[in-house]
Symmetry: C2
Subunit: 141 residues, 2 copies
DNA sequence: TTGCAAATGAGACTCAATATCAATACGGAG
DNA sequence: CTCCGTATTGATATTGAGTCTCATTTGCAA
């Protein structure tokens, strides 16, 4: 079952309507390489459907997140950054403050440790975000 | 050497001027308990100096961050949250999405692990932020 | 096919944060 | 201590991401 179909199922489950706009948005999101923000997605969708409105993209993004097709990634200069879930599971990010590159990594020790900490505080973790800022290897003098 | 004096040294080093406004802002920031955003700091400073402008607070906050007297904490509803560095060192945050409570914690295993990860990628870490979202013990059904 | 609720497009609106700019105040030179 | 150039300030305009509104359109169940 491909991503578009998954989204259709999601819509059906929630009694939401399958529309041309939503379809274009999922398809486009799925074709985005790497990380993107709402405006970038909007421009991309506009290439297929120049009539799509900013509001539709902003309205559909949370749906894609709920459907787990898209993940909210880090925040960059106050902008929300997203990424399409390519099935490669949870990971964290390093952000180069110089060139803006985003490097993904995953560390099970940290993952495990977070669970333990949440438990210790009786905190029911639904989400977590680890962001390392600094200079990537290319930008280090 | 107290915090205000530290800031004066910072200003001198950077050839910035010591002004009444900046002084009120540091002193007020130092008196803030827990986490605060720019608007809260502004209202607090206004109690001492009703003429202080929003711009001055927004201009001074980055200075306080550079002087390491204030830390940028998490983002909450698109607002930037700060906290005065009470000398209790680095820590991370859990944010209750229900009641908004912010719980601080510190875990050396995670800290250590982050360093190792950054090294592995030849990434020069300057800062990092771990944010666990979910429900605090009070808000868990 | 029809009826009506859901969804859309266009643009107004919000709100944090930044930029502008004339007036003011700091602090080094004298 | 006084004067002067420049950093800083206050007031306000502007930006920009994100949200809201509402008349119009569209999907879909009957």
């Amino acid at each position: 079952m491909d991503k578009t179909e998954l989204f259709n199922h999601f819509l059906a489950e929630k009694s939401l309507k399958k529309t041309q706009g939503r379809d274009n948005i999922v398809k486009t999101a799925a074709s985005m390489k790497g990380h993107f923000d709402a405006e970038q997605l909007l421009s991309a969708v506009k290439k297929k459907d120049s009539k799509i409105s900013r509001a539709s993209v902003y309205r559909t993004l949370p749906l894609l997140v709920k459907a787990e097709l898209v993940k909210e990634s880090i925040q960059k200069d106050g902008r929300r950054i997203y990424e399409f879930s390519q099935g490669h599971g949870h990971h964290d990010h390093m952000l180069c403050v110089q060139c803006g590159e985003i490097i993904e990594f995953r560390d099970d020790v940290i993952e495990q440790r977070q669970k333990q900490i949440a438990e210790k505080y009786n905190f029911k973790m639904t989400d977590h975000r680890l962001e390392i800022r600094g200079l990537c290897s290319k930008c280090t003098p």
